[in-house]
């Protein structure tokens, strides 16, 4: 389903109570989707090069880029894209015969956890997502600190419409 179709559906549907996530579902803009895809690709490639901290770097970028967007969708984008970025190499490995599940089970056992592959896989995705979310939150906070007090106080971040880019809003 494309973003255009999503927008059309949102316009014709009965209005739902506004939450950040319904906004995300209803009006996922192309720039956000693009950022997510790029971020996932970057973190996937980065981890192959041993750059385990790339989700954090990606989160910083998302935080700066989305400093005037709603908080929750922006953080969700960073977290999900990073998690996807780490999930992709594991999925690729599993599809090519790698014993991802067995390795996860062994790691869980070595760590003293119940020997469930799901635990380690979940922890892996969580580590990527946490990095990105933490970094995005940090970047956003720093950006707001450095911004003019009047502007940021007048327009609380939570009230910024996810579908508007900064150019439109300032015009």
């Amino acid at each position: 389903m494309t973003s255009l179709e999503l927008s059309t559906a949102a316009e014709t549907a009965r209005p739902a109570p506004p939450t950040p996530f319904t906004r995300l579902r209803g009006r996922l803009p192309a720039p956000v989707a693009t950022a997510a895809v790029l971020g996932a690709a970057a973190t996937a490639l980065g981890t192959a090069a041993g750059l385990w901290f790339l989700p954090f770097a990606f989160g910083l970028a998302v935080g700066v880029w989305g400093r005037r967007r709603s908080t929750a969708p922006m953080l969700a984008t960073a977290g999900l894209a990073s998690g996807a970025g780490w999930a992709l190499p594991l999925l690729w490995s599993a599809l090519h015969g790698g014993s991802v599940s067995s390795t996860a089970r062994i790691v869980a056992a070595l760590a003293g956890l119940p020997p469930s592959p799901a635990l380690v896989l979940l922890a892996t995705l969580l580590v990527a997502a946490l990095q990105a979310i933490s970094a995005a939150g940090l970047a956003r906070t720093v950006c707001h600190l450095s911004a003019a007090p009047a502007r940021t106080e007048d327009v609380p971040p939570e009230d910024v419409d996810m579908g508007e880019d900064s150019t439109r809003r300032s015009s």
Binding site: W52, L90, S93, I106, A109, L110, S134, V142, T152
Partner: protein, 857 residues
């Protein structure tokens, strides 16, 4: 302004939390590893998945090789290495072993070198402290220093280390580290010859290091000297079958071949004037017991198998009229702590100098037990006393000194720093006396003189055994073997069989070596039993030789070798001799069956006495049913046998009925060393006592315990029988037919890493500690036959060998070769133990995987 402050605070909070998160993910905190690095898909734990893949035929470039070496793997993972020279052979052996057992090798050397905490964190500091005190690494360094680089042992160790390091270099390049390294971020250091010697030292400790004198010290303090001597005698109370029945000759003593690497050099006098006893630390029984408590508490921190507790190994050989279809036969099943991966890595080695097949110890070159073209050998532990404890005289007026041979001597100090993952390093200072390292200064300053601390040329001896072709060459090679003292069981292609037990048997100038000895000089070691006088037998007229850790010699052997606490009660030896004596074995099938036998010979001798004791006794219906069951039982501890449950429960209850009142009255502190003091673990000497009294002395004074209502053996047996039926009814239900042994007794094979999910079992199993197929270490047994092998010689250079062990050739839990051999082992089946030539010949048709190892360009 307030809003601005809120933003600043929020910014600081976000910065701190992000920094903390990235620090934890990148560096780790406490026991939590650096999860960012560990879980990132491109590195950390995930590349370890490569270890699960089975090898495929390929050519590999291996630095250090001088020519081409061929390696092959059977479909079960059995490895074979062929090389054009000995250097390449051992290099390839090191490489192949490291490909399959790197974690095991690294854990073993870390254990011995006191570096486990660097990988496992603060939970391993106590173990590291103990091992650094005991000094395996110091001994290994001394051994390597005494090894000529150009000697066969020096060359083999160097080549083997090169092979291991070739594998480490590959892993540094591919990052396909075993999962434990990916998870912790701690990686193995380069392998050195000293590491190989440490691995051998760890096995020596497992087979040779005991705390028996400390137990005797505690028993003497609680039970008193008389009862301790009566119930834990030097000579066993029961009748046993030594493989060397004599006649014996006293041949004097030989000096130890080398100085203890963990003892202070014979020191210069510090304070020449002897000091009066009043000025010195007292050496009361209470102090000695306090010292024993301290050291035993230290051993409690060790992995279960680092103190020799369970005497369980079998090996026998037959020839002549005792064998049909061959000229001689060897059967061997060393019993050790079971683990995944196993102690052993099966391999055949062939070069111009070697053609040998069997079980190798990962980390060590060559074969430890197996066969070559002419001879075969297996091992059991001698169980002699190899550990002596000394009460060092110290004084507050002479700090850092001890009194020895009339003068105060300075303690030699060795300083260590124990690295700990996720915590600060721990400093450690070890004090050495002329006897060895001081193990505790609580109560009584106590040092240990352990034969494993003396450098010995065991690898040199082993390499010579690997290439020996007859009994003369075999025994000549073993002259250099020092520790652990082992029964080497032998059979050859000329039809000869024998056993010899080389090694150190320490003898002291005076004192009772089974107790902590005086450290002032008069009880020092005076030497060892000469090689010509050690226990041995060769081509006995009965055509059978067998050892199952029973005392190898009779009571009139002219040397002290240990007390009844050290040796096995002899029931496995009785069963083996009983099965082999006067019979003719048909090839190896009989020996294979005997290795899997779960017949308890003690049960067979005691149960008839129990039935007699019950004669004329009024029994209820259930007890009558149980009695009938026992009357028809053959003593086999099968998992499906209800009678086995009755017997085992009865014997433990009987032992407790007789001895527990004495233990309670004396307040024996069993918690200090349950395996040797707790009646629930059936201490060997007490089992021997009770057997002997039941069969031959049913009114022994021991039955008249404090408050006893069972003044003789039959009365005690009746009481124990009643308790047994009640106990099993409560535990297993009303119907005795349902009381199968497998409901009480299980086996498991734990992972070496300690991760429960990576082990095997527990599953219901037969056997007990006294059956040839031994199951020791409690009702969930994890101690038993670590390897089973039979070699049948049919003529010069002609043999048929088979073997099995409970595990698999790979240490990777995800590998199909991790535990593929366990079902065969469990069922008493074997795989062919093929020589390199046989594997080369048969491998092509059976689809063996082949590696061609070539020198680096």
């Amino acid at each position: 302004m307030a809003a601005r402050l809120r933003r600043v605070a929020a910014c600081l909070t976000a910065t701190l939390s992000a920094t903390l998160l990235m620090f934890v993910l990148g560096v780790g905190i406490g026991p939590v590893p650096a999860l960012g690095r560990a879980l990132a898909p491109g590195g950390g734990v995930w590349p370890s998945a490569a270890g699960a893949r089975l090898p495929h035929s390929q050519a590999l470039r291996i630095p250090g090789l001088t020519g081409t070496a061929e390696v092959s793997f059977t479909s079960s993972g059995m490895a074979s290495v062929q090389a054009s020279n000995d250097h390449d052979l051992f290099l390839a052996q090191g490489y192949v072993t490291a490909r399959n057992r790197l974690t095991q090798m690294d854990l073993e050397r870390r254990l011995g070198e006191g570096r486990l905490a660097q990988l496992q964190g603060s939970s391993a500091v106590a173990s590291d402290t103990f091992e650094l005190r005991l000094g395996l690494e110091r001994t290994a360094r001394a051994e390597w220093a005494a090894t000529a680089p150009g000697s066969p042992a020096g060359q083999a160790l160097t080549a083997y280390a090169q092979g291991v390091n070739d594998r480490l270099a590959e892993l540094h390049s591919t990052h396909e580290w075993p999962a434990i390294y990916g998870l912790t971020g701690v990686h193995p250091a380069r392998w050195t010859p000293v590491d190989s010697m440490v691995v051998q030292e760890v096995l020596t400790q497992q087979l040779d290091f005991t705390t028996a004198p400390l137990d005797y010290s505690i028993l003497q303090k609680s039970l008193g000297a008389a009862d301790t001597a009566r119930w834990f005698p030097v000579q066993p109370a029961n009748a046993q079958q030594p493989y060397d029945p004599g006649p014996y000759h006293y041949l004097g003593t030989d000096p130890l071949a080398a100085a203890n690497a963990n003892a202070a050099a014979v020191p210069a006098t510090s304070s020449a004037a002897p000091t009066t006893a009043a000025a010195t630390t007292s050496t009361t029984t209470a102090d000695a017991a306090a010292a024993a408590v301290s050291i035993l508490s230290g051993t409690a921190s060790l992995p279960d198998d680092l103190r020799h507790i369970h005497p369980d190994s079998n090996a026998w050989a037959v020839n002549g009229s005792a064998l049909r279809g061959g000229v001689s036969l060897l059967a061997g099943d060393p019993h050790l702590q079971l683990s995944l991966p196993s102690y052993w890595y099966e391999v055949s080695l062939r070069s111009p100098g070697f053609d040998v097949t069997g079980a190798s110890l990962p980390g060590m070159p060559a074969i430890l037990l197996g066969h070559n073209a002419h001879i075969s050998w297996s091992l059991t532990d001698v169980q002699n006393q190899s550990t002596l404890f000394y009460k060092e005289r110290t004084s507050s007026s002479h700090p850092d000194e001890y009194f020895w041979r009339g003068a105060w001597r300075p303690l030699q100090k060795v300083h260590y720093t124990i690295p700990v993952r996720g915590a600060s390093s721990v400093p450690l200072t070890v004090n050495l006396t002329v006897h060895g390292p001081i193990m505790t200064e609580k109560g009584q300053t106590t040092s240990v003189d352990w034969m494993g601390d003396i450098p010995s040329a065991d690898l040199s001896a082993l390499l010579s055994v690997n290439t020996a072709s007859d009994w003369g060459g075999f025994t000549k090679a073993l002259r250099e073997w020092r520790a652990p003292t082992q029964n080497f069981v032998y059979a050859d292609d000329q039809g000869h069989i024998g056993i010899i037990a080389p090694g150190y048997y320490p003898l002291v100038r005076s004192g009772k070596p089974w107790l902590p000895l005086s450290g002032t000089g008069e009880s020092d070691i005076s030497g060892t039993i000469p090689f010509a006088a050690v226990p041995k037998t060769y081509d006995p007229p009965g055509h059978v030789v067998a050892t199952a850790n029973q005392r190898p010699v009779g009571a009139n052997y002219p040397y002290y070798i240990g007390t009844s606490q050290g040796f096995d009660p002899g029931y496995r030896a009785d069963e083996i001799y009983g099965s082999l004596d006067g019979t003719t074995q048909d090839g190896s099938s009989g020996s294979a069956a005997l290795q899997s036998s779960v017949t308890d010979s003690l049960a067979r001798s005691i149960v008839p006495r129990l039935l007699s004791a019950l004669d004329g006794t009024s029994l209820d219906a259930r007890s009558r049913s149980v009695r009938t069951m026992l009357a028809g039982w053959n003593g086999s501890m099968d998992a499906s046998s209800p009678a086995a449950s009755v017997w085992w429960t009865f014997w433990g209850t009987y032992l407790s009925t007789v001895f527990q009142p004495w233990w309670d009255e004396a307040k024996v502190p069993v918690s200090l060393d349950p395996w040797n003091l707790d009646l629930g673990h059936a201490p060997g000497p007490l089992v021997e006592d009770l057997e002997q009294w039941t069969l031959h002395d049913p009114t022994n004074a021991a039955f008249a315990s404090p408050g006893s209502t069972t003044p003789n053996a039959p009365a005690a047996m009746r009481a124990a029988f009643t308790k047994t039926v009640d106990s099993l009814t409560k535990q297993l239900g009303n119907d005795p037919a349902d009381w199968t042994w497998g409901r009480l007794h299980q086996r498991k094979i734990p992972s070496l890493t300690g991760a429960a999910a990576l082990g095997y079992g527990p599953f219901p199993a037969g056997g007990d500690p006294w059956t040839p197929n031994a199951a020791d270490d409690g009702m969930v047994s994890d101690f038993g036959p670590s390897w089973r092998m039979t070699v049948t010689w049919t003529g010069p250079g002609q043999s048929t060998a088979k073997a099995i062990y409970p595990g698999g050739q790979s240490e990777d839990p995800a590998s199909p070769w991790y535990q593929n051999l366990i079902p065969l082992w469990w069922d008493g089946r074997y795989l062919p133990l093929r020589t390199a030539a046989e594997q080369s010949r048969d491998g092509t048709s059976s689809g063996d995987v082949r590696w061609t190892l070539r020198p680096e360009r």
